[in-house]
C-alpha cells in the first residue's frame, strides 16, 4: 500500500502546466465520472424550494426521525469510540499474538452487505439467542427498539473508528514516546502528554467519519428496527408508501445534513483515505 498522500508529495511544488493531448482524453473520461456523481446530487438539491423546506419543519414525523437519527448516531459513535480507540491503540502498539486476526475482524463490516449485517444482528440480538435473551432480561430490547438502531449503526462504523484511530496512533514517531519516557514520563503520563495530543486530530476525524456513516446507515437498520424510523428508513417508507415525490423533501434534508458533516470532516482531515 503506498503511503504518500499527494497533498504532501514533492509534486506539489511544481508549477501548473497546460495539459497535453493525452491528458485531455483522461480528463474527458474523468469528467463523465464527476458528472455522474455530482449530477444526481445537484439535481436533487435543485428540487428544494423554500416552501418545501418550510414544510419539512412542520413535518413532525420527519423532525422526530432526524432527532432519533442524530441521537442514535451520537450514541453509537460514543460507544464505538469508548471501545474502539483503546483497541486501536493496542493494534498500533507492539505486536501480540492474534493482532492480524483481530485487525481483519474489525475491518470485516466494510464488505458485509448491510441487509446481511441486519439479519446477523437480528439473529444475534433477538430474544431467541443466548446473547439477546440475556440482554433482554436486563431490559435491553434491540429488535424494533432504539438499541437496535444503535447496534446497527455501531456495527457498520466499527472499521472506520478502529482503522482511523489505529492509523492516527501508528503515525506517531515512536521516538517521541521514547524521548518522553527518557524525560521522566511514566507510560500513562507519556500517553496523556504526547501520544493522545498527537493522535487527537486523526481520532477526531475518524470519529466524525464514523458518525457520518452512522447517520447515513439504512440497510441494517431497516431489517433490525423499522420502527421507530430513522430518517433513511423514513425516506424509504415514504417512497414505497406514497411514491417518489413524497420522499424528496426528507431526502434533501438528510443530504444537507450529510453535506454539512462532509464539510466538517474535510476540515478536520484534508484527504479522506479509502
Amino acid at each position: 500500500m503506498p503511503k504518500l498522500p499527494l497533498t504532501h508529495g514533492p509534486r506539489m511544488t511544481m508549477p501548473f502546466r497546460p495539459p497535453d493531448r493525452s491528458h485531455l482524453i483522461l480528463a474527458f473520461l474523468g469528467a463523465i465520472l464527476v458528472a455522474f456523481v455530482a449530477g444526481p446530487l445537484l439535481y436533487l438539491l435543485l428540487r428544494a424550494e423554500p416552501g418545501s423546506l418550510r414544510q419539512a419543519f412542520t413535518d413532525r414525523e420527519l423532525m422526530a426521525s432526524i432527532s432519533l437519527t442524530l441521537l442514535a448516531a451520537t450514541a453509537a459513535t460514543l460507544l464505538g469510540a469508548l471501545l474502539g480507540v483503546p483497541l486501536a491503540y493496542l493494534l498500533a502498539g507492539r505486536p501480540f499474538p492474534g493482532r492480524t486476526l483481530i485487525q481483519g475482524l474489525v475491518e470485516l463490516p466494510i464488505v458485509i452487505p448491510h441487509p446481511v449485517a441486519g439479519i446477523a444482528l437480528l439473529l444475534f440480538l433477538g430474544r431467541h439467542s443466548a446473547v439477546g435473551g440475556a440482554l433482554g432480561k436486563i431490559g435491553l430490547e434491540f429488535v424494533s427498539h432504539v438499541p437496535g438502531i444503535v447496534a446497527a449503526m455501531l456495527f457498520v462504523s466499527v472499521p472506520i473508528l478502529v482503522s482511523g484511530s489505529r492509523v492516527a496512533f501508528a503515525g506517531i514517531d515512536p521516538h517521541l514516546a521514547r524521548a518522553a519516557r527518557s524525560l521522566g514520563d511514566s507510560p500513562g503520563r507519556c500517553f496523556r502528554r504526547v501520544t493522545l495530543p498527537l493522535a487527537s486530530r486523526g481520532i477526531l476525524a475518524a470519529v466524525s467519519l464514523a458518525w457520518a456513516r452512522a447517520v447515513s446507515e439504512f440497510g441494517a437498520i431497516v431489517i433490525l428496527t423499522y420502527n421507530p424510523k430513522v430518517t433513511s428508513v423514513l425516506i424509504f417508507d415514504r417512497f414505497t408508501s406514497f411514491g417518489l415525490e413524497a420522499a424528496i423533501v426528507p431526502a434533501i434534508v438528510l443530504l444537507l445534513i450529510a453535506l454539512a458533516m462532509f464539510g466538517l470532516i474535510r476540515f478536520l482531515q484534508p484527504s479522506i483515505p479509502q
Binding site: H175, L176, R178, A180, S182, G184, D185, S186
Partner: protein
C-alpha cells in the same frame, strides 16, 4: 559512568552480542560503525527501550537493567524527528522539568540558562515545525540536558546537518559537556568525529564491538582490516607474510617479507600467512630520486591523482598497488606533484602494521 557488561539484545533478525564497555564519569565515548552494525540498538538498550537477553547495564555504579526508562536519568538526542511537534521550543526544553520539585521560576531559569548556552533565546516562543536542522538539534540537546541527566546519549546528532552547522554545534556540544560534566555516549559513522570529540571509541560491526580504546590509538593501530578500512584513513593491502630471519625479539616479533602482487615490503611481524598491511598516508615519504639510508622499502610509483584537503594534500599513487600518501600542501606544490609524475615512495618497516 556508563558500564555495559556482556549485554545481548534480540531485535527481530538482528542481535547485539556480548557488548561490553565502560565510559568513566564525565567521559565522552563514541560508538562508531557502519549502518546496521547495532550502534543505535546499544543506545536504546542503555535508555531502557529494549529488554536485555543477557548481561547488565550500570549507570554511575547502579545496576539499572530492570529500571524503567523514566527512572534511569538518561538524556537522549535522536538523529531527527526528535522534538514534540505540538509544543513550542520552550515547552520542549521544559518537558522533563515537570517531574522534579523545581518551582516554575527555577524551571524557567534552567530553560533560559540552556537557551543562552546554545543560542536559542530568540526562538524560545516559536513552534518547532520551521526550525532549521541545526536549531532543532540544539533544542533537542537543551531538552535532554534540562533535567540534569547523569548520562547523555546522542544518536548521530550531526548526521543531517551542513558541515558548517555541524562544526559549530560540535563546538557548543564540547563546551556544554565540559560545563555540565555529564557522561556522554555518542553514535556516529564518521571516524573523524570520534577523533575530534571522544576520549573513548568503540568500533562496532554486526552487533559486536570489534575494537575499543582511545581514538588516536584505534586510528594508529587498527586491530583488523575491517577497522582499518572503516576508519578510511589508511592504506590496507592484503598479502602474504613470510619470515626471513630467525632472530626473535622479546615480544616474539621477527623480520619478515610481505608480498602482494608485484609489491614486496620488509616488515616486522609476529606471525606468518595471509595478513593485511596497514600503512598510514603520512608514513609514506615521497622523493623524486631514490634515497640511500636505512629505509629499504622504496617503491617506484606514478602519481595518479592529487587531492587537496586543506593543509595536507593526498597524493594517489600507482606503485603496483594503489597507495595514498599525505604531504603538506606546500611541499606538494614545491615538488610539482601532478598526475603522471614518477617518483619513489618510501615506507619504514616499523610504520607498517600487520593485522
Amino acid at each position: 559512568m556508563i558500564r555495559l557488561e556482556g549485554i545481548d539484545v534480540r531485535l527481530g533478525q538482528f542481535a547485539l552480542r556480548d557488548v561490553s564497555f565502560e565510559i568513566p564519569p564525565a567521559g565522552y565515548g563514541l560508538l562508531i560503525g557502519p549502518t546496521g552494525s547495532g550502534k543505535t540498538s546499544v543506545l536504546e538498550a542503555i535508555a531502557g527501550h529494549s529488554p536485555l537477553g543477557r548481561g547488565r547495564i550500570l549507570l554511575h555504579g547502579k545496576d539499572v537493567t530492570a529500571v524503567p526508562p523514566e527512572h534511569r536519568g538518561v538524556g537522549v538526542v535522536y538523529q531527527q524527528n526528535n522534538l514534540f511537534p505540538h509544543l513550542s521550543v520552550a515547552e520542549n526544553i521544559r518537558y522533563g522539568l515537570a517531574h522534579g520539585d523545581l518551582s516554575v521560576a527555577d524551571q524557567k531559569a534552567r530553560v533560559g540558562e540552556l537557551a543562552d548556552s546554545l543560542g536559542l533565546g530568540h526562538i524560545l516562543e516559536r513552534g518547532v515545525a520551521n526550525l532549521s536542522g541545526g536549531e532543532a538539534q540544539r533544542v533537542g540537546l537543551a531538552r535532554a540536558l534540562a533535567p540534569r541527566p547523569s548520562v547523555l546519549l546522542l544518536d548521530e546528532p550531526f548526521a543531517s546537518l551542513d558541515p558548517a552547522t555541524r562544526f559549530a554545534l560540535r563546538q557548543q556540544l564540547l563546551d556544554l559537556h565540559r560545563r555540565e560534566g555529564v557522561t556522554t555516549l555518542q553514535v556516529t559513522h564518521d571516524f573523524q568525529e570520534a577523533l575530534q570529540l571522544g576520549n573513548l571509541v568503540a568500533v562496532m560491526s554486526e552487533g559486536r564491538i570489534v575494537q575499543h580504546g582511545r581514538p588516536e590509538e584505534v586510528f594508529r593501530h587498527p586491530n583488523s582490516s575491517f577497522v582499518a578500512r572503516f576508519i578510511g584513513a589508511a592504506n590496507v593491502i592484503e598479502g602474504i607474510v613470510t619470515r626471513v630471519g630467525d632472530a626473535e625479539g622479546a615480544d616474539r616479533q621477527f623480520a619478515a617479507r610481505f608480498s602482494a602482487g608485484s609489491v614486496t615490503l620488509d616488515v616486522i611481524a609476529d606471525r606468518e600467512g595471509l595478513l593485511n598491511a596497514v600503512i598510514h598516508p603520512e608514513d609514506i615519504v615521497l622523493n623524486h630520486r631514490p634515497t640511500g639510508g636505512s629505509a629499504r622499502n622504496q617503491l617506484p610509483a606514478t602519481v595518479t591523482a592529487v587531492e587537496l584537503a586543506g593543509p595536507v594534500t593526498y597524493i594517489h599513487l600507482d606503485a603496483g598497488y594503489p597507495l595514498r600518501a599525505a604531504v603538506t600542501s606546500a611541499s606538494a606544490e614545491s615538488m610539482g606533484l601532478a598526475p603522471g609524475v614518477s617518483l619513489f615512495a618510501t615506507v619504514k618497516a616499523t610504520a607498517i602494521r600487520l593485522v
